[in-house]
Amino acid sequence: MTSPIIPGPLTAGEFQLPKLEMAGAVVPGGFWYRFLALVIDSFILGFLNAPFTIFYYAALFGYGYLARRGGEFAGSVLPIFATILLYGASVVIRFFYFAWFYKNKGATPGKMIFRMRVINFENGQNIGYGKTFLREFVGKFCSALILGIGFLMVGFRQDKRGLHDLIANTQVIRRV
């Protein structure tokens, strides 16, 4: 039984293939698109951090309750330990979130929404774990260190690369 609306496998010479053009233009990703993408990524990271945040505040409240009753808990390192754990966990989650998405999908969900991708500036391929570390941690730290001028460079440069892009030798592109 064959269906009238589903054609069988295509065979060579059955029809002329249409001529291909580049699907839309590919332009450098602009400042505000990237800003919005980062906002959305931050919210998602907030959700992923939620278990640790809940643990953090539970630990702090518990400590406060016990410390007020005095005793051996009063001078404990629990709050310091919980804070280190929270920051450590958020950094690790942040790294694997960015690295996994950059390596396997080419973009984080926030960037995907605006049809953007982060690529290696040399050959246009997805970046891996090493370049993600350079871009997201070393590069963005440097960008923030000089009063955020590294981020503002995105808006003023012709190829829309910020300091963190220059350090990791990457580029953000957007399909129009």
Binding site: I5, P9, A23, F47, R115, F121, Q125, N126, I173
Partner: protein, 283 residues
């Protein structure tokens, strides 16, 4: 009984129409749990981002209004102003949160977050979702996503991975790997790519060779800087591509189309470290 779907016509909707036409049931894949969680958090992030802007405007309006009309609210007595503000906040949250999900699921069958990961909401016995189904799903989202445990349990226990809202509304969430890959196309559109892929059936390319071709196509089509290529080198690249796509010669393809298609093929197979998206054989 196997059919290869026409690659030019590739949407979930067409599967559904075929199913109704044939009187057969459609075989979808249930959505993986992790993809549902991440797509939900993407949706929530979008809603939060919208609410963030909304609340800033709201704060300015409320407090400037409060400064002018504070005496009015004071004479109504007590904490009337506080209740009004809290009520408006809650109302605006519910309006945007529920409105977002209901609108997108009714209009398109997927929200923005679901679209990124190739998910779609499908009715069990109907060609398309009705408005009441969308509203029911949305109402039960409070139980499923806020209390988490009942939703997870029901997803784990039901055969079609339905949460409580899905069970009540008679819907389920389906996943298509091909749809998920569509967001990552750069050089050609997914429709064009599948059409070419069906017709040409390219051979498997070793990873290093395909990376060198990607570097070439990046300089040729995207960055448009750096070295320029001589006609001889273009010919070499064309021979390189024809080695893996032998059928292209018989089709009489021009060089530009061939390069664009092969670049997308390399991108989909090697850069994303996946098999090329095959047409999904259904029924």
């Amino acid at each position: 009984m196997t059919f290869v779907q026409n690659p030019a016509e590739s949407s979930y909707g067409s599967y559904n129409r075929i199913a109704l036409f044939e009187g057969a049931s459609v075989k979808y894949n249930p959505a993986p749990l992790m993809k549902r969680i991440i797509s939900y958090s993407v949706d929530m992030a979008i809603i939060m981002a919208v609410l963030y802007v909304f609340y800033i405007v709201f704060f300015v309006l409320i407090f400037s209004g409060a400064a002018i009309y504070s005496k009015l609210f004071y004479y109504r007595g007590g904490d009337f102003m506080l209740f009004v503000i809290l009520g408006l906040f809650l109302l605006s949250f519910l309006l945007i949160y529920d409105g977002y999900f209901i609108y997108f699921e009714y209009k398109k069958g997927f929200t923005l977050g679901k679209k990124l990961f190739g998910l779609r909401v499908v009715a069990l016995n109907k060609p398309r979702l009705t408005l009441s189904q969308c509203v029911l799903r949305d109402l039960f989202r409070i139980i499923d996503c806020l209390l988490i445990v009942p939703g997870l349990l029901s997803i784990a226990l039901t055969k079609k991975h339905q949460r409580l809202g899905d069970l009540v509304a008679g819907t389920w969430v389906v996943y298509s790997r091909r749809k998920e890959a569509e967001g990552s196309f750069i050089y050609v559109t997914p429709e064009q790519y599948h059409l070419y892929f069906e017709a040409l059936r390219p051979a498997v390319v070793p990873e290093d060779e395909s990376q060198s071709f990607l570097a070439f196509s990046h300089s040729e089509f995207i960055s448009k800087r750096g070295r320029t290529w001589t006609p001889g080198e273009y010919q070499e690249w064309e021979n390189f591509v024809l080695h893996y796509v032998p059928q292209a010669k018989a089709r009489g393809l021009d060089r530009n189309s061939l390069f664009l298609f092969f670049a997308e093929y390399c991108l989909q197979t090697v850069n994303l470290r996946k098999k090329p998206p095959q047409p999904e054989v259904k029924l």
